[in-house]
Chain length 399, copies 2
């Protein structure tokens, strides 16, 4: 495992800035620019929602036309530029064009990302001001401002980096709500100073996303803007395992998205084993991880396993309810601590101590493991509770 | 339309009682008995959850063996008798046998229903005491007690009846949580003094359920115990449309389940039109009606239509986002009041008054209508908001 940091520094070949351009109130940072000194290869993973925001449609076209060659990313928060029709597409393209003029590259080499409220046109004058401001402030040390500039209901900026002998990988993400168990699900971009071909880059990003960004649940909603980009602009081919480093950065960012999900007080791992295939296990794990009743029980420190097996039973995967086992353990993933407490064996309750179960699920991090049979399939997803604050945040989001 | 009452009286041929047998605290009613004077035909619709409670498994077998001939229903709240293994099945069968001895019928002519916490064995001694008590109190007027005895987190008993010249239809339901957009989803039983063959009975119940009980969403979870039963014990064939009367009773009960859903402050109709098929429209409507972000916006009096179209876009149904229309109207179904306010046309926001939109969604009942194309498919589902109280109720349910 690579050592992972929550900061980014010493990443060569990129200059970045996060500024306030006026979309958000109270001088909050709302626009970020990332410029690669030389053309970078770029791979992308995008929302599978049928209703795609303008920047998603525009970026997909640009990547096709440029063959995945990118010089800059322009990112704003406070406005999703989604459900904005032709004007939305025009604004996204204008943003890219203005940046391209400044760095003297082709407009297809500039990608755009937006996050915020749906159905509002991008204030293009403010974006232009943001671009001007950002260009004045570009530096190798601006990553914290970049991470802050893309936040919506996040409570802290999300950065991660891994340094190897021959290269560095760094990433930034924003999350908080509309985090679903399918595809992309937030904004994230990962940069490296190693060399990666575009094809390798896409293969790595697909594989990594499938085990990180696509394994997290906050509320089960899927956004119109979800995008993950991977930029590589180095001249040296990595001598070590770059996929592992990208995976480590992505896993940290993905887990941070859940930990900092809207109103979250618990970080819960749901592991399902014993299905015929991994995808069956994933389907069951996602159904459990998305169930409002399961998630409110997490919030209530209630080891209410009946809701977990009821959710499993409606997941659309065949198993024998009389054979299932369920256990709960303190901790997460590889850092599981303490012995597992067996709650259910052969489909019926074990004679466990309710006080011990309550102790475990009263912690801020724990893991439920459901074994539904003797197959080789397995899957793990990370989820959270639904709290009073989740309701407050989302009832009051636009006001 | 038949005139619908929220009470049941004058239903001949059935004697009923609701009593306290000791499962619930504070002398709350927790056991109900419904006895048909003569053998009734019985149709049933059951949960499609793979994890089925003992009473569901037992009733399905009994109905098969008896050919749908029923003399009594024994119903308890406070314990779901789910995930209880062989002992759970034995307890369900013992309950039926004890009732059968009392009325001198075959044990397969007695059905059982349970609702409450999963994973706890049925306290069979208390159930026997309940049966004894209930037999002492059977009367034609006990329906209100029956409705109260099956409540869990419901805040009021749910009764409905329709009287025609030649027959009466009455029904009772409990709901509140674990109400999903697929199949059954709660406990309900409907009785009539008309004559219905078992086959007709099942055809009517299937059709009616599909347009009432299967069109409601509280939280999208599906329970292990969902059961709807229809009993008919009359000697006179109905001269009027009994399906319409059963439909009216079921629709009232289904809508009451949503109105009295856990923590509910809003009753919202989601209508989707213009798909190729009705089932596509239903898939979109269910996705919208189950979305936590949509439901928290309802709670926040926020006409946040971006969340509605984002939910529609991930429903797995193909449509052109650039062609959609969305409007919101005060009121429900056939009682829509006021003019619809057009929010979205051709996929982009209309120039509507945000204050007017807020006014409409600040009411306790309103309807969103989404038109996704020019197809003939359509569907309507009834849903509600997610409130702070929903979280409180479900975080604290077992404590």
């Amino acid at each position: 495992m690579s050592e992972i940091l929550s900061t980014i520094s010493g990443m060569s070949g990129y200059r970045v800035a996060g500024v306030h351009c006026g979309i958000k109130k109270n001088d909050a940072l709302d626009f970020a620019l990332i410029v690669s000194d030389s053309p970078a290869t770029c791979a992308g993973v995008f929302t599978t929602n049928l209703v795609k925001a303008a920047p998603v449609l525009v970026d997909q076209e640009k990547l096709n036309r440029s063959g995945g060659r990118v010089r800059a990313l322009a990112v704003n928060s406070g406005c999703a530029n989604a459900a904005t029709g032709q004007q939305g597409l025009d604004n996204a393209n204008q943003t890219a064009r203005y940046v391209a003029e400044k760095i003297d590259c082709h407009e297809d080499e500039v990608l755009v990302m937006s996050t915020g409220v749906i159905g509002v046109q991008l204030p293009i004058d403010k974006i232009r001001r943001g671009i001007d401001l950002a260009f004045q402030q570009l530096s190798e040390d601006g990553w914290d401002d970049v991470a802050r500039a893309i936040m919506t209901t996040d409570t802290y900026p999300k950065l991660a980096s891994v340094t190897k002998d021959s290269f560095q990988v760094a990433g930034i993400a924003k999350g908080a709500g509309m985090i679903a168990p399918n595809m992309a699900t937030m904004l994230s971009f990962i940069v490296t100073d190693a060399q990666l071909s575009r094809d390798d880059s896409q293969i790595v990003l697909n594989a990594v996303s499938d085990h990180t960004y696509n394994r997290i649940v906050v509320d089960g909603d899927m956004s119109t803007n979800d995008t993950v980009l991977l930029l590589a602009n180095g001249e040296v081919k990595p001598t070590q395992d770059i996929e592992e480093a990208i995976g480590t950065v992505s896993k940290k960012l993905a887990q941070d998205i859940v930990r900092d999900g809207e109103g979250v007080t618990k970080f819960v791992t749901v592991a399902v084993n014993g299905t015929a295939t991994d995808s069956e296990a994933r389907q069951i794990a996602n159904t459990i991880a998305t169930s409002p009743l399961v998630k409110t029980a997490f919030y209530g420190n209630d080891a209410n396993w009946g809701r977990i097996i009821a959710a499993a039973g409606r997941a659309g995967v065949n198993f024998d309810p009389a054979k299932i086992q369920l256990k709960v353990t303190l901790g997460v993933d590889e850092t599981l601590t303490g012995a597992p407490l067996l709650l259910v064996f052969d489909g019926t309750p074990c004679d466990y101590s309710e006080a011990m179960a309550t102790d475990i699920v009263s912690a801020s991090e724990f893991t439920y493991t459901l074994i539904v049979g003797s197959g080789q399939g397995s899957a793990t997803v990370w989820t959270c509770d639904i709290s009073h604050d989740y309701v407050s945040i989302n009832a009051e989001y636009r006001t």
